[in-house]
């Protein structure tokens, strides 16, 4: 399997069974964001307390591909960005079913210099 096939397989799977997730990169503290909607597999698996509170936040895993990110030129118009530089990063927001979650980590899976998959952990 080459990278192109791996991406196509993942996109087909996500198109069939995935959830629409909006990835949001905060541009300032005034509430301006750069958004892109991706198809993703979302699994919530545990909860973790909020420091200083007895309330908890959900934690989950989000899997997506680079396809919609590259198509939208996310997070901003810059033709010089490498694919791996477009991968979401800690502090970005994943809006899932109307609720916001913070990206705690985003790990790109590489194959032949292409990002074929992004594994993210979210909390919120």
């Amino acid at each position: 399997m080459n990278a192109r096939q791996a991406i196509a397989d993942l996109d087909r799977e996500l198109a069939a069974t995935g959830t629409s997730v909006t990835l949001r990169r905060r541009l300032d503290t005034a509430g301006n964001f750069s958004d892109v909607v991706v198809k993703a597999r979302v699994v919530f698996e545990s909860a973790d307390g909020i420091a200083g509170s007895s309330s908890k936040q959900r934690m989950g895993r989000v899997i997506c591909s680079m396809t919609q990110i590259v198509q939208a030129d996310w997070p901003g118009a810059n033709a010089n960005l490498l694919q791996v530089q477009r991968v979401p990063k800690a502090g970005d927001i994943a809006r899932i079913d109307g609720a916001d979650y913070t990206v705690e980590s985003a790990a790109p899976v590489m194959m032949s210099f292409s990002v074929v998959r992004i594994n993210m952990k979210v909390k919120g």
Binding site: D48, I50, S54, S55, Q57, G91, T102, K123, G124
Partner: protein, 132 residues
């Protein structure tokens, strides 16, 4: 946990201040709001010890009130600091009584970190309570 009197006193003062944001009181139902500031309040007694001898002697309790102010991640800290200072000011200049508020800390000497969707800033107010 603290004994009930310091908790009730602090709670009344915070409620009367009407900060206008949702407040989570320890072990009470609370729904975390989305995208707005809120605060979580708890009180802890560090020590209860006799300062007079005998079965009816006075006891002194030392403890802290913790008010943690949550701001949505990425929204900056200025408004949070303003509110934290207002909380600290709430316990300034109160006439001496059974409960004395001694000093406060904004942040308890720690740098803050994002925690999921929140950025938490804790105000600690130290108190002593004389239980006659």
């Amino acid at each position: 946990m603290s004994s009930p009197a310091p908790w009730a006193d602090a709670r009344t003062r915070i409620q009367n201040a009407a900060f206008g944001i949702p407040i989570e009181w320890a072990n009470e139902p609370f729904d975390v709001p989305a995208g707005v500031m809120w605060m979580s309040v708890d009180a802890v007694g560090d020590s209860l010890l006799p300062i007079e001898l005998g079965p009816t002697g006075t006891w002194s309790e030392e403890g802290s009130l913790f008010v943690t102010i949550m701001a949505p991640q990425g929204s900056g800290t200025y408004e949070q600091r303003v509110l934290a200072k207002s909380v600290a000011n709430l316990f300034r200049g109160i006439p001496s009584g059974p409960i004395i508020y001694r000093r406060a800390s904004i942040g308890i000497g720690r740098q803050l970190q994002r925690d999921g969707m929140w950025w938490a800033m804790t105000v600690q107010i130290e108190w002593s309570y004389t239980d006659k």
